[in-house]
């Protein structure tokens, strides 16, 4: 299709009855004909003629995508197989020279020879832990709120205000929020320490940023706090999208609220929840701003336990001996994990319609048989 037959794609004979064969013709002729038609006739045919304008409309997107996203991605892939770093002694860049899988070896195999015992996988693990710690409570709370906000029996009048306020942290700059929480959890005189000591919860100020789980907890909490409002709004829209007759039917049959939730709301919400899950996973894997700005050094204190994958990649590439090659290899791992999630989503979204159709056909066939 792409081997120089663009003319055939662009300049097809207008679709008459059975004429599907592309025939290349001079552009001027087509143009003249088109003009004549435009002037003379009002047949439906000419909409086909205009179709080539579609290429002009989508061209900017694809050109920019190719230059600023696709090529950098290919470049990154290439660098992953190259030796490329800066010699700190002479401040000279080395490479990029092709060195095969050497980068991947350092990424996968630790110094002690154990597989996955590397900083790369530690940071991937950190990222996944912190994502799970925020996603699970987030989807749970969002689900509860979505059910509450759509409950027709117990109407919450102020839900507009609730939505506005709970969504609000989502649009505030993550970097700013991170620094704000850094100040709030400050040791020894941050507001949280002041409150906890004055209430007697803590006997003396606690340095949260020296504890691995406290720091991870704060990162997860910030993410949770920023995103549950968003998830809640999405799920609320999802619940509202479910046909009301389903709920009515369930209620007429005497189902309790819990039964309705379990057997109507939850199954119907599944696609949207999966979408939220995958979206959140992909976003969560790229977590950067919050852990980067939350701790004192910015390198994932304490002891690199809050260093995420993107932080690690940038630490590799832009600090010390600027190991671009290794950073690119780590990027590729991030890419593969991300791709895995998006493929899952793509698969789910794709297949569903087909399955639905099949089911509908089967049901129709059954119904017909039953009628007979």
């Amino acid at each position: 299709m792409l081997d120089g037959t663009a003319a055939q794609i662009f300049e097809r004979v207008p679709n008459t009855e059975n004429c599907q064969m592309p025939v290349a013709r001079p552009r001027a002729e087509i143009f003249r004909e088109g003009c004549e038609k435009m002037a003379n006739t009002k047949t439906k045919r000419k909409t086909v003629e205009y179709s080539r304008y579609g290429y002009f409309f989508i061209a900017p997107f694809f050109i920019v995508f190719a230059i600023f996203q696709l090529w950098p991605l290919i470049y990154t892939m290439g660098l992953a197989f190259c030796e490329n770093y800066t010699d700190t002694m002479f401040n000279m860049e080395v490479g990029p020279y092709f060195n095969g899988l050497a980068n991947f070896k350092t990424v996968f195999v630790g110094n002690d020879g154990r597989l996955f015992n590397t900083y790369t996988f530690q940071s991937l693990w950190n990222t996944i832990i912190m994502w799970l710690m925020n996603f699970l409570p987030q989807i749970l709370l969002a689900l509860i709120l979505a059910v509450w906000f759509t409950d027709t029996r117990v109407k919450l009048k102020a839900q507009g205000a609730y939505k506005i306020l709970t969504f609000m942290p989502n649009i505030i700059t993550a970097a700013t929020i991170s620094v704000l929480f850094y100040k709030l959890f400050d040791f020894p005189n941050g507001p949280i320490n002041q409150v906890l000591t004055s209430w007697g919860v803590l006997s003396q100020p606690y340095n949260f940023f020296l504890s691995k789980w406290a720091t991870r907890g704060i990162v997860s909490f910030i993410n949770f706090w920023m995103w549950y409002g968003n998830t809640m709004i999405v799920l609320t829209a999802g619940v509202l999208g479910i046909s009301p007759s389903l709920f009515e039917a369930a209620r007429v049959d005497g189902a309790s609220s819990w039964q309705i939730f379990k057997s109507v709301t939850l199954p119907m919400l599944r696609p949207i929840m999966l979408f939220t899950l995958v979206n959140s996973a992909i976003g969560g894997l790229q977590m950067y701003d919050i852990p980067k700005l939350l701790t004192t050094s910015g390198y994932g204190d304490p002891d690199y336990t809050t260093r995420t994958m993107t932080m690690y990649i940038r630490d590799l590439a832009f600090t010390g001996s600027k190991q671009m090659g290794k950073a690119a290899a780590a990027s590729l791992i991030l890419f593969v994990v991300t791709l895995f999630f998006s493929l899952v989503l793509f698969y789910i979204m794709r297949d569903k319609d087909a399955i639905k159709e099949k089911k509908a056909i089967k049901a129709a066939q059954k119904a017909r048989k039953g009628a007979k």
């Binding site: 205009y50 920019v64 995508f65 117990v154 970097a175 991030l334």
Partner: protein
């Protein structure tokens, strides 16, 4: 029998009332949770550093102007604060315009025209929607420095043209808001294709354009990842990078200044959000139902 029924109904009412109170209490607590960090921030911005260290207060004091003057002074040592703001604003405005205009254009291209490969183009846009910029940042960085665009705003603005999720939203909206007959009618009246798009399709898409403008602007304004990777001269820093700087040594001694700095960074979004919150929430709900 009737009495029993009444009692049951009464019980039901009581239960509904109970549930109502319980749910409202939880929701109010959550709202409180959303607001309290910002409230502490605002209050602390009005207090002296010594006061802040001594204890928490929820009542504003009156040292805001002093803190503000100190912040301006600290900033003016190197780069004035308004410079960071205008930098962020410049990038955000340009990338918003690019994102929204070209995304609408792309969506128009795949919706209105049925050309060879239009189905593929759409599937491709869907597929790349999920690939984040972070995975290719190493290549992006090297490529941009290779082109000599390292310390430049162009790599922050131009890529905004290719925004798959905005294209997705625009197409969803376009399918309901833009009847193809209008495009045909415009053709019959002799309108050129790009003219039709600019004069007829864009105005019809106004609500979607407005929503996406808000989101694109916020996304660009909040972006920390790419600018902090590319921009090296302090004069070109954006607001989130200024926030990062505030954690540095120069500001660490005075807590009041940091809180004022945070207030300055957050306030513009706060104001915009509370004016446009209705549209933003509607937009989130629309964008989420991707089916």
């Amino acid at each position: 029998m009737a009495k029993q029924n009444n009692e049951m109904e009464g019980g039901l009412h009581a239960r509904i009332l109970g549930a109502k109170i319980f749910r409202n209490v939880i929701c109010i607590f959550l709202c409180f949770l959303s607001l309290i960090p910002f409230w502490i921030m605002i209050v602390n911005a009005t207090r002296t550093s010594v006061d802040i260290q001594q204890g928490l207060s929820l009542i504003p004091s009156h040292y805001f102007m002093e803190n503000w003057a100190k912040l301006l002074y600290q900033c003016s040592q190197q780069v004035p604060l308004w410079k960071y703001m205008t930098n962020s604003l410049t990038i955000a405005v340009f990338s918003t315009v690019f994102t929204v205009y070209f995304s609408t254009m792309t969506a128009y291209g795949v919706t209105v025209y049925k050309f060879k490969g239009s189905g593929f183009a759409w599937a491709f846009i869907m597929a790349i929607m999920m690939i984040p910029v972070q995975v290719s940042s190493i290549g992006f960085f090297r490529f941009m420095y290779g082109l000599g665009l390292g310390n430049n705003y162009l790599p922050l603005i131009i890529p905004a043209i290719a925004a798959p999720s905005t294209v997705f939203f625009m197409r969803q909206y376009m399918q309901s808001a833009l009847p193809l007959e209008i495009v045909d009618a415009a053709r019959i009246d002799g309108s050129r294709e790009f003219n039709t798009f600019n004069r007829i399709a864009m105005p019809l898409m106004k609500p979607a354009v407005a929503t996406q403008c808000i989101f694109a602007f916020i996304a660009s304004w909040n972006n920390f990842y790419t600018p902090s990777m590319l921009l090296s001269s302090q004069k070109k820093y954006t607001l989130p990078m200024f926030v990062q700087m505030m954690r540095g040594e120069r500001f660490r001694s005075d807590h009041g200044i940091i809180y004022v700095g945070l207030v300055v960074c957050i306030m513009p979004i706060f104001v915009v959000y509370f004016i446009l919150s209705k549209y933003i929430i509607a937009g989130v709900a629309l964008g989420g139902v991707k089916e």
